[in-house]
């Protein structure tokens, strides 16, 4: 596995990318480049959030609760007097950490299973295909909710749950890709050369199939963030003291009339971050598809 | 014999992200009633654009000058509303790619019926549809009318699209690349079909093709296109037996029956045309003026050529 991502190979992929069409097409879409830059900014922000935040997100001040914007509190305070701006900022860290971890795990498990299943073929593939179908028969949140009854709330459990719910779409996509690739000539020649199956899958087939799955991953980050916030909104995920946008909106519901920013701001944050990833995902899809030069907006 | 179609100094340019594409430059020719005029050229020579222009189907971004006259009436530089009564009724298209040109989710019969006069009753229209289908050679018109295009063979689809074009009894047919991509048998059948059309009536046809054999067999007059320009025009017998333009000569020499001698070089793309004669450098009688000076169109007596040597 480490051989695939060796510096030599990464450089090869980079030169392959920049030498081609893909890079030129990317550069033609300044909005997309801007979006990618913004995502980078968001990621940096999420890493340093607790340091940047002007106030301690957990510092309560019961005399100053549910206040509007002021010099001290840019967005005002919540029902426990905590600074909304700082909590929102730190919520970014929470969301990104969980979302990225989940996507990472889901990506690797899903693609590994999909690839193996498709490559192996036969009854193995049939079994896995049925399993994937069963998982996909559940609307995602429902499955997550069912699992919560089993394992209870909590951050680690949430990652586990989301991974269980989302791996199937990656697996299905990867499986489809590998199924169409596995009969190509380069695979036949690799087999004829006696290369072991895992090597063929990892070094040869996977790099050719990976693009659509990467695009799915980018767009899935957005969905994951939405799912995380929804589950915490329902009170089924993160403990309410940890700043998380969904649970912040939930807590703010009771005081909606007097301190509406508490429900508006975190929701805006969710929307903006999800929006960035959605635009990036779609933009990547357009760039990698040579047929899409007519409907460019971003 | 009246002139049914006259094209005068047609210029069509497409502005694109990568530059300006000069698809048609100063195209002038005419078609007389009952004649079959064939425009031949390689892919990218701009011949399809002429067909689109006559049908008033150019994309909105196209920049156009020139004139096209149908029975002495201007039909090019007019609005869509003014052209609409002609399209599909007096001027029809037999499209390239019959399979793709048929709506996959509409029954065959209905696709013919659509072109018929919608004031007629349904029974009358159905009757007409069956008539057309049997005349096209379909043995069970009732069945065919109820089926879908994907249930027909390639040749049947070709006949169907031709039938649709003929259904409204047009006076001018535009046949767009009728033998493109066809295998030997289908090509032969298509050529036979056009022979029949030629024999039967006084159909005036403007045919656009790369198929020289088809042009020779069917055409009355022929125009040779190169890089967006007309480089030769005249009666089929004259042009094929004594070609004037070196490109035409090259085309004929490249035919399998003549030895399949290829021409050197490639034709310039329509977005990247040189200053002088476009054929300069590939020409067997290449001249020095051709490098910088663009040759004019010399026309007389029904015969035209664009070359410095005339």
């Amino acid at each position: 596995m480490s051989e695939v991502w060796s510096p030599g190979n990464v450089r090869k992929i980079y030169t392959r990318l920049s030498g081609t069409d893909f890079y030129a097409r990317l550069m033609k879409r300044p909005f997309l480049v801007l979006t990618v830059v913004l995502i980078g900014f968001v990621l940096v922000l999420s890493v340093f959030a607790p340091v940047i935040a002007p106030q301690d997100p957990n510092a309560t001040d019961l005399y100053g609760k549910n206040q509007g914007p002021s010099e001290e509190h840019v967005f005002g305070t919540d029902y426990l007097g905590r600074d909304l701006f700082s909590r929102t900022l730190c919520g970014l860290q929470t969301s990104m950490a969980i979302a990225l971890t989940t996507i990472f795990v889901t990506f690797f498990i899903g693609t590994a299973i999909g690839c193996y299943s498709a490559y192996h073929g036969g009854w193995v593939d049939n079994v896995f295909a049925r399993i994937i179908d069963v998982f996909l028969a559940f609307p995602s949140i429902i499955l997550a909710l069912a699992l919560i009854t089993l394992i209870g709330p909590g951050i680690f459990n949430m990652i586990l749950m989301l991974a269980v719910v989302q791996w199937a779409s990656f697996a299905r996509l990867m499986r489809g890709q590998v199924l169409s690739e596995k009969n190509r000539e380069y695979v036949q020649s690799a087999k004829a050369a006696g290369l072991p199956a895992w090597m063929i899958m990892v070094k040869h087939i996977a790099p050719n199939c990976i693009m659509p799955v990467l695009i799915l991953a980018t767009m899935d980050i957005g969905h994951t963030i939405l799912a995380i916030s929804t589950l915490s909104f329902l009170g089924l995920g993160i403990p309410p003291s940890v700043p998380e946008w969904g649970s912040m909106i939930n807590s703010g519901l009771n005081y909606m009339r007097i301190a509406p920013l508490n429900v508006i701001i975190p929701g805006l944050a969710i929307t903006v971050v999800t929006l960035l990833f959605n635009i990036a995902g779609e933009g990547l899809r357009d760039v990698s598809d040579p047929n899409s030069d007519n409907t460019v907006a971003l | 014999m009246k002139t049914i179609l006259e094209v005068l100094s047609l210029n069509v340019t497409f502005p694109t992200r990568n530059g300006r594409i000069l698809a048609s430059q100063e195209i002038s020719f005419q078609v007389n009633e009952g004649e079959i005029c064939v425009l031949v050229g390689e892919t990218g020579s701009g011949k399809s654009v002429i067909g689109q222009s006559v049908l008033h189907l150019l994309p909105e971004s196209a920049e156009v000058t020139g004139s096209i006259r149908y029975f002495d009436k201007e039909i090019f530089m007019i609005s869509e509303e003014q052209y609409a009564p002609l399209r599909g009724k007096e001027i029809s298209l037999i499209p390239q790619n019959p399979g793709g040109s048929l709506d996959p989710i509409m029954k065959n019969g209905k696709q013919i019926a659509e072109v018929l006069d919608h004031h007629k009753s349904k029974e009358k229209k159905t009757g007409t549809v069956f008539n057309i289908l049997s005349r096209l050679g379909f043995l069970s018109p009732r069945l065919i009318a109820q089926e879908y295009p994907h249930e027909l063979s390639g040749g049947m689809r070709q006949r169907l699209t031709t039938g649709i074009a003929l259904a409204s009894k047009p006076r001018l047919l535009i046949a767009d690349e009728p033998t493109k991509g066809l295998d030997y048998v289908a090509r032969k059948k298509t050529m036979e079909m056009f022979s029949q059309l030629k024999e039967n009536k006084h159909d005036s046809i403007l045919m656009i093709t790369h198929d020289l054999d088809l042009a020779e067999m069917i055409g009355d007059t022929v125009g040779v296109m190169y890089s967006g320009e007309l480089v030769e025009f005249g009666k089929v017998e004259d042009v094929f037996c004594s070609p004037k333009h070196p490109y035409t000569r090259g085309l004929l020499k490249a035919l399998p029956r003549n030895g399949m001698v290829p021409m050197p070089g490639i034709s310039p793309g329509l977005g990247d045309l040189p200053g002088g004669c476009y054929f300069h450098g590939r020409c067997d009688i290449c001249c020095s003026e051709g490098e910088a000076v663009h040759p004019d169109w010399y026309f007389g007596d029904g015969r035209g050529v664009r070359c410095h040597k005339y």
Binding site: L275, I279, T295 | N97, L102, P104
Partner: protein, 313 residues
């Protein structure tokens, strides 16, 4: 064709059975837990501690020590006889609770998807036909925003604007037309946006196809070309999206129904989960899965009526 229907029905049942097994296992996997929860619900109270002897007694009385598969079989037999057990939270038969909860959810979902389809198709077609117009740009920006907004937040903001600030509509509840408007909008926003986008893309794609060019060349009016040929052909991918949207609608209804106190299945499920009412949870999830699978099944069959080229092996 009939062969296909039979095959798909069989497949549907198979998936359903596996899904039910899956659900049952997830919910009841830890027998100790199940017994404990049961004890708490039935005897001591949810927040109390359940003494181990009581738990053991409950376990044997309710056959919780049997192998999981046997318990599953018992459950399935019960369902076949119409008995889904009694809810621990409400102390009423689950079948009754579900019976009351299903109609509101169907109503909400139906209203939501109808409006989504109507508005989605209209705006999608408009957007495609007036490409790169100002209106088109606004629509496209609005759709990508809508897809990025969490459903529950949309619901909350709608309540804030229309109930709290403007006082035009009720905050929550179940009653006449005014109660369904906000939930339907909140629920349907994502779907509407998705439909607009797919219809736009699909129609733009279709308009380039040779048969549309030929339809124009045939001299047909613009309306006939666009609506008679292009739109019908463009609709197939939209159907796929509609099918997929049902899943997110059902998922979304869980949240939306809770916020608006809409007495549907989603609401029921949330209450059941909060109270760890295992009996209710398994049945409710199964009903949702069943609805989802059936809708997809119907949509699958619809493909053939729309596109006669689609054949089934």
């Amino acid at each position: 064709m009939h062969h296909y229907i039979i095959k798909r029905t069989g497949y549907l049942l198979l998936t359903l059975i596996i899904a039910s097994l899956f659900t049952f296992v997830i919910v009841n996997a830890i027998p100790g837990e199940t017994a404990e929860i049961l004890t708490k619900h039935l005897f001591v109270g949810i927040d109390e501690v359940a003494p181990p002897e009581m738990v053991a007694e409950v376990a044997s009385r309710y056959n919780l020590n049997k192998p999981l598969l046997e318990q599953y079989a018992d459950w399935v037999f019960g369902i076949a006889q119409g008995d889904l057990g009694d809810s621990l939270l409400f102390n009423r038969p689950v079948s009754k609770l579900l019976g009351n909860a299903i109609p509101p959810t169907i109503m909400l979902t139906a209203v939501s998807i109808t409006f989504s389809i109507l508005i989605g198709l209209a705006l999608g077609i408009y957007s495609a036909l007036h490409r790169n117009n100002i209106a088109d740009h606004i629509i496209r920006i609005a759709t990508i925003f809508s897809v990025s907004m969490p459903g529950f937040w949309v619901a909350v903001v709608l309540i804030l604007i229309f109930s709290v600030w403007l006082g035009l509509l009720p905050v929550a509840g179940y009653g006449g037309a005014e109660y369904i408007i906000l939930p339907a909008i909140a629920l349907g926003l994502h779907t509407t946006a998705s439909i607009i986008r797919i219809m736009r893309t699909s129609l733009l794609d279709t308009m380039e196809k040779p048969f549309v060019v030929f339809a124009r060349a045939k001299g047909l009016s613009a309306r006939k070309v666009v609506f008679g040929h292009a739109c019908k052909n463009a609709f197939l991918p939209v159907l796929t999206v509609i099918g997929m949207s049902f899943g997110s609608l059902l998922a979304g209804s869980v949240v939306i129904e809770s916020i608006f106190a809409w007495p549907g299945i989603g609401n029921l499920l949330i209450k059941a989960i909060s109270a760890r009412d295992l009996v209710l949870i398994e049945s409710t999830i199964m009903v949702i899965v069943f609805m989802f699978l059936v809708v997809n099944f119907v949509i699958d069959l619809l493909y053939h009526t729309i596109d006669p080229r689609i054949t089934y092996e």
